[in-house]
């Protein structure tokens, strides 16, 4: 399972990376905004994308839209982990096709639950 973590703050990327490692996901890579992440997603096959929203350059919501618009990436599971807490933002992300939405500050347990739920759904829809 190869996971890409996108956040402009390296401290948050480290936190997410460590939490994922605890959950047994050791194969992670990092990008600091959507503009850096998109070419990585297009050139290497990732199985999961964890992205922040508010980033300089390309924002997380635009990265999500770009992923959904790209035929090779359109089914990539995307989890947003962001401090953006306005209801219309969450609705916007849902409409853009996000698979999960976590508001910061979050707990290790929340991350664990959301990831499990996303994969359960994917398995259910595949099976």
């Amino acid at each position: 399972m190869k996971i890409l973590i996108v956040d402009d703050f390296s401290t948050m990327r480290r936190i997410i990376k460590n939490l994922l490692r605890e959950l047994g996901f050791n194969n992670t890579q990092e990008a600091d905004d959507g503009a850096t992440a998109l070419p990585m997603l297009q050139s290497i096959e990732f199985d999961f994308l964890v992205t922040d929203w508010n980033m300089p350059g390309m924002q997380g919501i635009d990265l999500l839209k770009a992923v959904r618009a790209d035929e090779n990436l359109s089914s990539l599971p995307v989890l947003m982990v962001t401090a953006e807490a306005k209801k219309d933002q969450i609705v916007e992300a849902a409409q853009a096709g996000v698979n999960g939405y976590i508001v910061k500050p979050f707990t290790a347990q929340t991350l664990n639950e959301k990831i499990e739920k996303i994969f359960e759904r994917i398995e259910a829809s595949n099976g």
């Binding site: 508010n54 209801k87 969450i90 849902a94 976590i102 500050p105």
Partner: protein, 248 residues
């Protein structure tokens, strides 16, 4: 003030006349001359004052009262103060979270070290066959207890370290808030520079501040308590409720 020679020649001429009138005892004529000198002085003053007034008037006419400045002072600077106070709270909370774990964990590691050192000494005696069977039974029980206790402690220390790691999320959250304040400071600076660089536009009345139109989905960083302007969620539970209402 008038500095050209012409003005002073007038003074000199009238002053010489004044002295000669006083010396001749023509005091009423002297009084007239003093009045004349005063008027001469006043007219120069009035000319300068007039010039200053005109400059002031021109400056005021050229000065455009920027609506943005009142918006900044009325709402955004107080908001920025709230934001920075929130940053203090978040950093304080993170520091305390971390220190609590450290204070709880340090004694654990000290105890671990003490008990291990103690057992090691006994174990060394056993390996050198310097221990009676009775004593060995006791040691074996102690080692058993120590191993369980160590495992339990390792779990707690692991939990503590995870807590310390999660506490570091403040750097992201406060960083986003501080970035917004930096943008505001930049905005204030630009406006002050604009104020100083007086433009050639006519004076305009202060209009009611027009709220800057914001796209509803524009990212704005963490919510600051008391500054939420639109509906926001207050925790992960509300996010989950909202998403499930959307069929998630």
């Amino acid at each position: 003030m008038e500095t050209d020679g012409q003005g002073y020649e007038d003074y000199a001429h009238q002053a010489r006349e004044l002295i000669s009138e006083i010396e001749s005892g023509n005091f009423s004529e002297a009084d007239n001359l003093i009045d004349g000198l005063t008027k001469l002085r006043e007219s120069a003053l009035f000319q300068d004052l007039g010039k200053l007034t005109r400059e002031l008037h021109d400056t005021l006419s050229n000065f455009q009262v920027d609506v943005r400045i009142s918006e900044l002072t009325e709402s955004e600077i107080p908001d920025a103060k709230e934001r920075l106070n929130h940053v203090i709270e978040l950093t304080e909370k993170a520091a305390n979270r971390t220190l609590n774990v450290v204070e709880e964990t340090l004694p654990r590691t000290e105890q671990l070290d003490q008990r291990a050192t103690q057992l090691k000494a006994q174990w060394d005696r056993f390996t050198h066959r310097d221990m009676k069977v009775e004593e060995f039974r006791g040691l074996s029980k102690e080692i058993d207890e120590f191993l369980s206790w160590t495992s339990e402690n390792a779990t707690r220390i692991h939990g503590g370290l995870s807590e310390v790691m999660m506490a570091q999320d403040f750097q992201d959250l406060t960083g986003q808030i501080i970035r917004r304040v930096i943008t505001l400071v930049q905005d204030v600076e630009d406006n002050l520079v604009g104020l100083i660089r007086v433009t050639g536009q006519a004076i305009k009345p202060v209009e009611a501040p027009t709220p800057t139109a914001q796209k509803s989905v524009e990212a704005e960083g963490p919510q600051v308590p008391g500054l939420e302007k639109v509906e926001v969620v207050t925790g992960q539970d509300e996010v989950d409720d909202l998403l499930s209402s959307l069929g998630f």
